[in-house]
Symmetry: C2
Subunit: 363 residues, 2 copies
């Protein structure tokens, strides 16, 4: 292999892929990135066997070939050198990287030892605006579980209903659902939340459309020159729709920033009680108060002005409230609930296609 | 106690002192801050027994008194609430903190259980410009040791010589010395580097003079309304002056940013060799090269243009070189040495009162 690339392109590609190459893996070669010529381009790729990312960059290819080299060292090295043209030359398994000022040799491992990057031959394809997808996924991925004991809950569920694409996630304590866009195809995909986190990192502000292609086992997301392929989670997603109440005994509308501030302050006092706080909506006083449960450290009540319909109280995990508020767009937020045992819905009038549900704690 | 303070003042005071209150201490009360009226002001203080910080703030004192409360909770709480007037009221050991929106009660511990804050009755006093002192201490404290096996090396040495105040630190692998200012008094103080780090944090850009007062055991630094008192380290400081060479077989002058960049890149390849890199100054090629020692991962040579007098090479710890360059002011830097075994001096023509010495590694 003998190629010329720019530092800027190689750095971008290594930044895209190197994060998923990691040294804690049982297969040492998975800590490497693959650098390989493909026609007149160079593909830079890494995988952790659950997920594979490939970034194609333009290149002057003098001799074709490929090698795998330690991801972290290579990325840090390329990120540290100045912009401009870099020469890459392979001498058996030694990769020589040279600029005017820097001459490096990185010891690599042959491409044959690297896992074959997954591909999807036959499958359904559709595409969605990159920014729309990114916003929607950011709003729901926070509700996915990290507990591998119930694998379906560690996924983000993509599905279509009456011509609309939805994404949803729940860890059984809270649930987030977003209507993404109109879509003709029938879709039903359960994608690991960890892969969604990587996907979110790869969608930049300048990305246009994201192409999605999937078969029974895998899904591929293509964002410009980057491809992310991940396995799908098997199993039936819970029928969460029936958990979302549509009528409420108490509804309160207040400024979102006020709501964030009073929740934050109360959560400081709720550390001993695992974040448990009581939200009290008072129709007469026209306010929402958040009270932390009295503890060894002390106690706190914080209030904010609100439009309240039906006085009531509910005990929630303050961290879940903050996550929900951070995920909600709009200047104002509604918090709606039915007594102490039923799910609480956080939603904004300004964004009716996003719903966040939090299960109450016993108080 | 019944007082009124502004959130801004109380927040500033808690930020100054709360860091040294910590929960890992064997005495639980040391995780608390003291809040106490002193005439028409309020003193906010904390100590870890080695160091004590007191910050005085203006206050409306309605009833005098004092209490100690958990530092972390109190600081985070006050930092989270909006600016404006705060009412503090003591009810036995419960501290009530109230604003329009927030009503908190923090459970405290009586002042009697808190260690008496140290004071210096008789001693020498002098003062120094805050910015000058801060710059000088930042430049030398990095060279102090963190190894408690040789206590004197964990200190920053303040001393006067021929009417000038110097500060110096060494961990025996490297040494930094700075001439601070003219000073009439005779000074010889060995201050723990950890206390110097706290002092640096307390000196802000708006600080004017720092007043220094010391006896045999302790030193007090007063920065505006803040007082830091720390114990001194006992013992004789090594006579380091004789270690600094004044004549050199090799001298090289190069752009400081170039020097930083080539050292950083080479250090990436030097992880297996504990940061060891070889600096090569070449009079004919008019360049300085940094070569990382070949390792399992690979090797690297990086070069930068330089004015060289006397070709030569020396092997150094790249982290120490980067620390020295970061501490040195000026656009250009000189690196001067005598063969492979003698100390190497890093210095800038633009800042003759700062000297940084690094001991070579065996290559």
């Amino acid at each position: 292999m003998k190629i010329q690339v720019t530092q800027e392109n190689l750095n971008r590609a290594l930044t895209s892929v190197a994060r998923i190459a990691n040294t804690r893996n049982t297969l040492p070669i998975l800590a490497n990135v693959l650098i390989k010529t493909v026609d007149n381009r160079v593909c830079v790729a890494a995988t952790n066997l659950n997920i594979a990312i490939t970034h194609y960059i333009g290149s002057k290819v003098k001799d074709k070939g490929g090698i795998t080299v330690p991801a972290r060292l290579t990325q840090e090295f390329v990120a540290s050198i100045p912009g401009g043209v870099i020469d890459l030359r392979l001498d058996e398994t030694k990769l020589h990287i040279e600029t005017d000022q820097y001459k490096s040799t990185i010891n690599g491992t042959a491409v044959d030892d690297f896992p074959v990057m997954p591909s999807i031959e036959n499958g359904t394809s559709w595409s969605v605006n990159a920014k729309t997808l990114k916003n929607a996924l950011s709003q729901v991925v926070i509700a996915a579980s990290s507990d591998e004991a119930r694998p379906v809950l560690t996924g983000v569920y993509f599905f279509t209903d009456k011509g609309n694409l939805f994404v949803a996630a729940t860890d059984s304590y809270r649930l987030a659902e977003k209507k993404v866009t109109k879509l003709k195809d029938e879709v039903k995909l359960l994608v690991p939340a960890t892969s969604i986190q990587e996907l979110l990192r790869l969608i930049s502000d300048s990305s246009e459309d994201v192409e999605v292609k999937h078969d029974e086992q895998q899904v591929l997301f293509r964002i410009g020159d980057i491809e992310l392929v991940t396995r799908l989670i098997e199993g039936e997603y819970p029928d969460y729709k029936k958990l979302i109440p549509s009528k409420f005994a108490t509804t309160a509308k207040l400024d979102k920033n006020d709501f964030v501030n009073i929740t934050k302050v109360s959560s400081l006092f709720a550390r001993e009680s695992a974040g448990s706080v009581t939200v009290e909506a008072d129709e007469t006083a026209k306010q929402v108060g958040i009270r932390s449960i009295a503890s060894q450290l002390g106690e706190n009540t914080a209030t904010a002005a609100a439009e309240v319909d039906g006085t009531g109280a509910i005990t929630l995990n303050s961290r879940y409230v903050l996550d929900a508020l951070n995920a909600t767009n709009g200047q104002s937020t509604n918090i709606n609930f039915n007594g102490k045992l039923e799910p609480c819905v956080i939603k904004s009038d300004e964004e009716t296609d996003y719903t966040h549900v939090i299960m109450p704690l016993k108080s």
